[in-house]
């Protein structure tokens, strides 16, 4: 256990330490010493500021992410189960997926204004694709023997979906959700940089424009930490939900 923690912490500690030492007598205005940045971090990210800027960002992030997850999984199951539907929509999906989502921010702004709705839509539009496409693949890959078994034992209708198809596609859906999470964070920041009156992205741009450079850097560090914590939480949830899958794979490796 201690060894594992050491492995996780060692490289970040070295990198941070190196940054601290190498930047310590930096004269550059744009890359101030880490010492100053850390001081600014404490001063800048007070409870008030967290409430005013970080909480709105997180709410947008979760709203967009959850919406994308629900729509992506629902559509993915429908497309995955229906060959004709898949043949019809797949080329269109590939086209939409190929559009870099930040490009759509100005367009979506025209329709949805510059409020929270716009940001949520941007996040949904960007991170739905990995969820959708992975769900389609996962549903298509459900073992034919599993499907035969379900049919032979009268497992049909809603139970077929919730007890057979979704669990079986679960590992692949989780892979899509994991990719989508990092995309969602990126889009949260970008959408706030375009037009917002609060939020992490907005605040970082504000700092940059007012030449509050250590504060700007501290915001970037905060974003990094946020992404790290979110992916850690995701991994924990995934491990819980897919414990059977890890076990199955370990058993297969042994056998």
């Amino acid at each position: 256990m201690i060894k594992r923690v050491l492995y996780v912490v060692a490289l970040p500690a070295v990198l941070f330490g190196a940054w601290f030492v190498l930047s310590d007598n930096s004269e550059s205005f744009y890359s101030p010493p880490l010492r100053d940045i850390l001081t600014a971090f404490g001063d800048t990210w007070s409870a008030d500021r967290l409430r005013a800027d970080v909480v709105p960002s997180l709410l947008r992030l979760f709203a967009g992410y959850l919406l994308a997850a629900v729509i992506g999984v629902a559509l993915g199951v429908a497309i995955g189960l229906n060959r004709r539907l898949r043949a019809t929509v797949e080329p269109v999906l590939e086209f939409f997926r190929a559009i870099p989502p930040p490009v759509l921010v100005p367009v979506i702004m025209l329709f949805a204004g510059i409020g929270d709705g716009m940001k949520v839509i941007v996040i949904v539009f960007g991170c739905i694709w990995p969820i959708l496409l992975n769900t389609v693949e996962g549903v298509r890959a459900v073992d034919s023997v599993v499907l035969d078994t379900a049919r032979a034992y009268g497992v049909t209708g809603p139970a077929r979906l919730t007890k057979v198809i979704l669990p079986s596609a679960g590992p692949q859906i989780a892979a899509g959700l994991r990719q989508a999470l990092s995309i969602a964070i990126i889009l949260m920041v970008i959408s706030e940089m375009f037009a917002a009156s609060n939020g992490l992205g907005f605040t970082i741009v504000q700092f940059q424009r007012s030449f509050a450079i250590p504060e700007m850097w501290s915001g970037i560090i905060l974003l990094g930490l946020l992404g790290f914590v979110l992916s850690l939480l995701f991994r924990l949830a995934e491990q819980r939900a897919l414990r059977w899958y890890e076990g199955l794979r370990a058993a297969q490796r042994q056998g």
Binding site: D143, V145, V146, D148, T149, R151, A152, Y153, G154, V155, T156, A159, K163, V164, P167, S168, G170, W244, Y245, G247, L248, A251, Q252
Partner: protein, 257 residues
Amino acid sequence: MLEVKGLRKVYRSGSREVEALRDLTFTVDNGDMVCLVGPSGCGKTTLLRCISGLLDPTGGDVRVNGKAVDGPPPGMAVVFQEYGRSLFPWMSVRDNVELPLKQKKVARSRRRELVDEALDAVGLTGTESAYPWQLSGGMQQRVAIARAVAYEPQTLLMDEPFAAVDAQTRADLEDLVRSLWKRLNVTILFVTHDIDESVYLGQRVVMLSSSPTVVQDELIIDLPAERDQLHTRADPRFVELRTRVYEQIQLAKKAAR
């Protein structure tokens, strides 16, 4: 009663046609145990999928107690060859056995009873909360058998259920199937490629030809009902019967060439 009449199955892909089953006719009376044996690749699995309603035949029909099969009939349970893929790895042993009963809307207390009885019958009491992949191959196939038993079927189809387990486990599982059959009074259709197994288990053996498949021959197994691995297999009558089956299978293979 299970009736298979003039069953034919042709697979089509593009302009290519493969005739898997040509013309199969046989019946299994209620409470009988009949083994289907044939050379490898003779379309046994296709036949079983047609009988269980998972596959539509091209011609002919299958009737269970006089009712034509179109889709999996209620009261029929299937044990598949690939136990590792047929049990759901995301569910515990108990949930695997219980799920079909939930779908049949069996009351909770009765479900509990059925699951416990079935697991007890296959000798797996105490593994309820384990996942299938935590068990050995033979135990997994026992879970699959328990699932079929708990379903309280009138007809039980078994598709080479012991092809993937080792020889000793296989002998145990054969005895298990015999004892369950006698106790539960179900009709069993047992598909296998193992000639000894078919003679040891069945009251009757139906021999299939190579693909495109027809019924090559049928043989009544007039061994005593009490069978055990040691004595039955050494019985001169057993050896005689297995030789008969073996000859027919060899004939079927030669005819194919």
